[in-house]
Every structure is written in structure tokens, then in C-alpha cells.
Amino acid sequence: MLESLIHVCLAGLSKGMFIWLVASGLTLIFGVLGVLNFAHGSFYMLGAYFCYTLLSMFSDNFWLGLALGPLCVCAVGFVVERFFLRYVYHLHLPYQLLLTFAFVIIFDNLVKILWGGGSIGSPTVTGMAGSVSIAGRLFPTYSLFIMAVGPLVALGLWLMLEKTWAGRIIRAASSDREMASALGVRVPALYTGVFVFGTWLGAMGGGLAVPYVGLLTPGMGEGIIIDAFVVAVIGGLGSLKGAFLGALIIGLLSSFGTRFIPSFDMFLIFILMAGVLLWRPQGFFGEAS
């Protein structure tokens, strides 16, 4: 029983960290730009496809693919923000959401045209293909790697936002756009920068998903974006700390739920999401308004 509990826990933690990798970029963009980006799932998908293509070009060197793939997606993110999203910041919510929704449709179909509609089984990572024995049962090495990368990304984001000059400007702009602008911050450029950085995070999530999920399909971003929304919401929209915790909660909840409640379903997770929105919309760390 104990070995089972340990493994259910590990599975939950790795799933949580995996969702966090995607939700972090979504949360950052929402926190600064105030836009909930449906297309973040598409950046995740594009990250996976670019990473896969590049690693196939460089004789299956996963790390090279992971380094270069997300950078290509950043260029896509730049175009989306600079030439489209920028013109709808002042508009009502439906326009912003639908614009990003339009990109979801477009990217899904472009991927289908460029890479084919079929699923692509992805290669394993050299040196991480195997499993290690934990408590008498095997656990994939790569999942351990994901569990390490998640907190590292969180730490990196925290250091960047709290300790660097750029981080201070980002925080200033997200709390009061006009004030920051009056103080001489070039807000539009900053927005572009944050959006591209958020895109990079999403695409990294996609690149890292290649061996984790083991499969690429057009439309693969649509599943993860709902998970990321849930995580971002229960953490308090825009709060990175909250999203990190939210991802852990969702990962563990779905792992334990799947194991111990036979009728477990996303239903419970959506109840949690609604509950948080109703009673603590600012999330775990936000202050009550």
C-alpha cells in the first residue's frame, strides 16, 4: 500500500509540475497584460512540433531541439502581439478572447497542413529513457527531471521579478500601467517583451512534453489550455505563486482521485475552480479586496 501511495504521489507531482510549466507563461501574461491567452495552448503545441522537427534534423539531439524550438515559437508570439493583440488591449474582453481563439483555430490547422493530421510518436531522450526504482516500483527518469525543472522555473521567475531591474519594471507596469508610462517606461515594448517571454515558457512546456506525453497531435494544445486555465484560476489569476500551488493541487488531486475514487472526474476539479472563484477569486495569496 505504501509503495502505491508513494507512486500516486509522484505521478501527481510530476503531472502538476508539467501543468505548471504551461500555466506559468499564461499567468505571467495575464498578470502583466491582463489578457487571458487562449492561444497559449497553441504555443505549447508549436513548441512541441518545432522541438520535434529540430531534434529530428540534428540526429535526435533533444537538448538542441529544446534550446532552439521554443525560440522559433517566440518569433510567432512576437508577430501575434506586435501586429494583432496590441490593437485590442483597449477593447472589451470578448474581442481579446476571440482574437486569441482565432489564433488557436489557425495554428491548429496550420500544424495539420504542415506536419500532417496523424499523430507522431516522439523519441525518448538520450540518457533519460529509462526508469529508476523507487519503493520497489519503477518511475520514469524523465518525470523526475520534469519535477526538478518545475521548481527551477518557479525560482528563476521569482528571482527575475524580485531581484532584477527588468522584473521591477514589469511589476510596476502590471500594478499601474499609466504610472509606469508616466515614469518613462515604454509600456508597449514591455508588453511585447513579456508576451514573447510568456510564449517562450509555453513553448518550453511543449518541448518538454515531447518525451513526457510521448506523442504529438494537431490540437494537442486544447486539452492542456483548459488545465492551465483551471490552475491559473485557482491560484488567483495573475499570481505566479498561486499558479504554482494550484498546479500542485490539481496534479495531486487528479492522481489521488483517479486512484481512490472510481467515479472521479474533471467534475470535482471544476467544482473546486468554481468554489475558488466564488469565495476567494483573488486566489490563495492575493489579498481580499
Binding site: V8, G117, I120, G121, S131, G223, S254, T258
Partner: protein
């Protein structure tokens, strides 16, 4: 992006025409020319084909299309169907019922289809039943597997317009049980899709295996929602139950993901008997490649190495030459659906619905998958698909079936009147 043979000007011209016709014009005027349904025996034979062409399962639609396109090319090169040209149009079925219905109505009422084929989802197939009765054109289902379609709609409700050329859930549930009864496994568990298909197949497997081998235990069930990408929690559930055998009707991409994650968790080291009723699908075999473990029981709706006879081998070679691909099972069912219509029209000497249905009922015809017979009562094609054990073969970059076992459809398919235990295998005679 545009289909071959259409220039931009055609696009604009036809677009305007279509706009006028669909919007207002056709509202008042009876359609003519392009829009008129062909009523005479002469003229092209038109087949409207719908399959999933978007989303995560879009690859299936592409495989359908390869098989169908090949049949059209072959038939037209050889003089068509009874001298008439064969035309096929494709539409994306998405996975939503209203879209499937709209497609069917478009094909028949607007494009003038004589026959319909395709359909991946069971829900869509069931939703189409009353529509086909109304439109009164034959529909050949090439992928949807629900037994309710043939048992309820065709046999009980009398929707005679519907036929199914692929194997139904009997192959996935009952036939699997016939294979499982000879395995030294007494405790079985499942990870299967959390929808009707999963529930039905596991139910049939349990039921039939329980009858064939009393004393068999079914120790764990873990249902994975549509779109699952992380099977680790499900795998834990199964390993905790410590079964001798794992049965799973996961399919397509989700099966690939599950197999990879199960392998990482060491599941195949602990559980020696694994049965995957749709594991022999080409996308799964190619997607897993060498990562598919050896000695897994797999099956499908067709496997390209069975039957090992000239007709099938030549077809596989021709398919490979044409598409640089091995045929997926939907390629075969799509391909054969067109030939089934051809055989029926030529036998009936007409493409009239009633005549074609009569010709199809009980019709025996040869296809790459072997001899098929449409059972008169429920319009289900009776043909055998092997179950086999995976093994590596230097000739292929993926695992193939080594040892094969064939359970004849007469033995494992439910029988009319589909009521009571006597309708379900095992049968006395």
C-alpha cells in the same frame, strides 16, 4: 489548399453561384445543373464520404481518404461502375452529431449522392440512423463500432439503409475473450476509455470470458477520459490490483501514450498478458515503433499481413507504391466500402436504393481483408480479423503480428435476434 483541378477563377465563380444558390436563389428556384440530384441510372455514381479531418484524430481521416481515393482511381481507370463514372466527395465529420447529419443531408439533397460512407464516431452513426431512413440512401459505416447500430437501428428499428463493413465491438470484446481463455491468466484488469465504447467492450470481454472460463476474476477498472495525456495514475491503479492480464481498448494517440508510460512504469515486466483490441492500427504500430513491447496481443479491423493471399498482398504493395504508407485499417474499410457499392450496383444493374440494398443483403464479395458477407438480418459484414502476438521483424520499422489466431466471426459475433444469452457467444453449434 484547394482541391486539384479548381483554379482561383473557378473558386470565385462557383463561390458566387453557391452563395446565390444556398442563400436566396435556391430558396425559390428548384436547383438545376450543378445542384440537381441525378435520378437516372445513367450518369456518375456519387459517393459522399465523411470522416474526421480535424483535431487530434485528423490522421484517421487522412487514412480513410487514401484508401477511398485509391479505389476511385482504380475503378475509374477500369471503366467505372457499370460504365458510369465514380465520383467521391469528402467532408469533415468533426465529432459532433449535427455536423454528421448536415454532411449527410448535403451529400444527398444538395450534391446528389447515391451512397454515403465513412463515419468514425458511434454517437454520430446512431444519430445518422433516422436521417438515413428519411434520406433513403445506403450508408456504409467504415469505422464506428457500436453494436447498437446494427442490433438496434438496423435489426430492431428496421433502418435497412445502414450497413457496416468494419468489425464491430464483438471483435474487440468477444473475440478477445476467446483468445484470453487459452492464456494462463485468471485475473484481468482494464484501462479503457471513459465512454460507451470502453464500457461496452470491457463488458463483452468480461461476460464472454466469464462464460468460457468460469472462475476468471476481473479485479480492477480504470477509466481514462477522452483526451488523457497522463496515464500514470491509471497505471498505478492497475499495478496495485496485481492482475495477470491487462485488457485495454484505448486507441489512436492515447494508446501510444499509455503504452509508453506503462513501459516506463515497468508494467509489462509485471503483467505478462496484455490485450489491445485496436493495437494493430497502423498509427499505433508506427507511432510506437520499436517501443512496442514484444508478445502483446493486438488486433484491429484489418491487419495488412492478413490474409496472406495474392489479392491482399498485391493491394498492400499497390497502396505502398501510391502513398508510401502501409494501409491503416480505415484505409482498407474505406477502400472496400467503395468496392462493395460497385459490386452491389453491378449486381442490381441499378443504383436505385431499394435494389442496391437487396443486392447488398447477403452479398459475398472479395476484399483485401478477405471474403466478406453482409449478414442479412443486421447488415453487419462478416469477415475475420486476426489476433496476434507482437514481434520484431527486420523487414519493418515497427512490430508486426507473429503468431496469429483467427476467431471466425460466426463464433464470436452476437447473433440475431440479439436478445438473451442465446444470442451471445459461446454458441452451442
Amino acid at each position: 489548399m484547394f482541391k486539384k483541378g479548381l483554379t482561383r477563377r473557378d473558386f470565385v465563380k462557383a463561390g458566387l453561384l453557391t452563395a446565390a444558390a444556398t442563400g436566396l436563389g435556391a430558396g425559390v428556384l428548384k436547383p438545376t445543373g450543378l445542384w440537381a440530384a441525378e435520378a437516372k441510372i445513367k450518369g456518375p455514381v456519387k459517393v459522399g464520404y465523411q470522416a474526421i479531418l480535424s483535431g487530434t484524430l485528423a490522421g484517421y481521416g487522412e487514412f480513410h481518404k487514401m484508401g477511398v481515393d485509391m479505389a476511385v482511381e482504380e475503378i475509374n481507370a477500369a471503366g467505372g461502375i457499370g460504365g458510369a463514372k465514380l465520383e467521391v466527395e469528402f467532408r469533415d465529420s468533426t465529432l459532433k452529431n449535427p455536423e454528421a447529419i448536415k454532411n449527410a443531408r448535403y451529400f444527398v439533397d444538395s450534391w446528389g449522392a447515391d451512397f454515403l460512407a465513412g463515419v468514425d464516431s458511434s454517437g454520430q452513426a446512431l444519430a445518422l440512423a433516422p436521417v438515413m431512413a428519411q434520406l433513403d440512401k445506403p450508408l456504409m459505416v467504415t469505422h464506428a463500432a457500436t453494436e447498437k447500430l446494427t442490433e438496434q437501428e438496423v435489426f430492431k428499428n428496421g433502418v435497412k439503409q445502414i450497413f457496416r463493413i468494419c468489425t464491430p465491438t464483438y471483435q474487440d470484446g468477444n473475440a478477445a475473450a476467446f483468445v484470453a481463455k487459452d492464456l494462463p491468466a485468471m485475473k484481468w484488469a482494464t484501462i479503457s476509455p471513459k465512454y460507451e465504447y470502453g464500457y461496452t467492450c470491457w463488458g463483452m470481454f468480461k461476460d464472454t470470458l466469464g462464460k468460457l472460463k468460469p472462475g476468471t476474476e476481473f479485479v480492477a477498472e480504470s477509466w481514462a477520459p477522452f483526451g488523457t495525456t497522463d496515464f500514470r495514475a491509471h497505471i498505478n491503479t492497475i499495478m496495485d490490483a496485481n492482475p495477470d492480464g491487462l485488457y485495454s481498448v484505448e486507441w489512436a494517440g492515447e494508446l501510444i501514450t499509455m503504452m509508453k508510460q506503462a513501459d516506463q512504469a515497468g508494467l509489462f515486466k509485471k503483467i505478462k498478458h496484455v490485450m489491445l483490441p485496436v493495437g494493430a492500427a497502423m498509427d499505433v504500430l508506427e507511432g510506437l515503433g520499436a517501443e512496442m513491447p514484444d508478445n502483446i496481443w493486438i488486433s484491429g479491423r484489418y491487419f495488412f499481413l492478413y490474409p496472406d493471399n495474392p489479392k491482399n498482398n498485391e493491394w498492400v504493395a499497390a497502396f505502398q507504391k501510391r502513398w508510401k504508407h502501409y494501409p491503416a485499417y480505415v484505409s482498407e474499410t474505406g477502400y472496400s466500402s467503395i468496392y462493395a457499392f460497385k459490386a452491389a450496383v453491378e449486381a442490381a444493374g441499378s443504383k436505385d436504393t431499394k435494389a442496391v440494398i437487396e443486392a447488398l443483403e447477403g452479398m459475398e464479395f472479395d476484399s483485401p481483408a478477405g471474403k466478406r458477407v453482409f449478414r442479412k438480418e443486421d447488415h453487419q459484414a462478416m469477415y475475420s480479423v486476426p489476433w496476434g502476438l507482437t514481434k520484431a521483424d527486420p523487414k519493418y520499422p515497427f512490430k508486426i503480428m507473429g503468431k496469429m489466431v483467427v476467431i471466425p466471426p460466426e463464433e464470436c459475433f452476437n447473433r440475431p435476434p440479439f436478445e438473451g444469452a442465446a444470442s451471445m457467444p459461446p454458441f452451442k453449434s
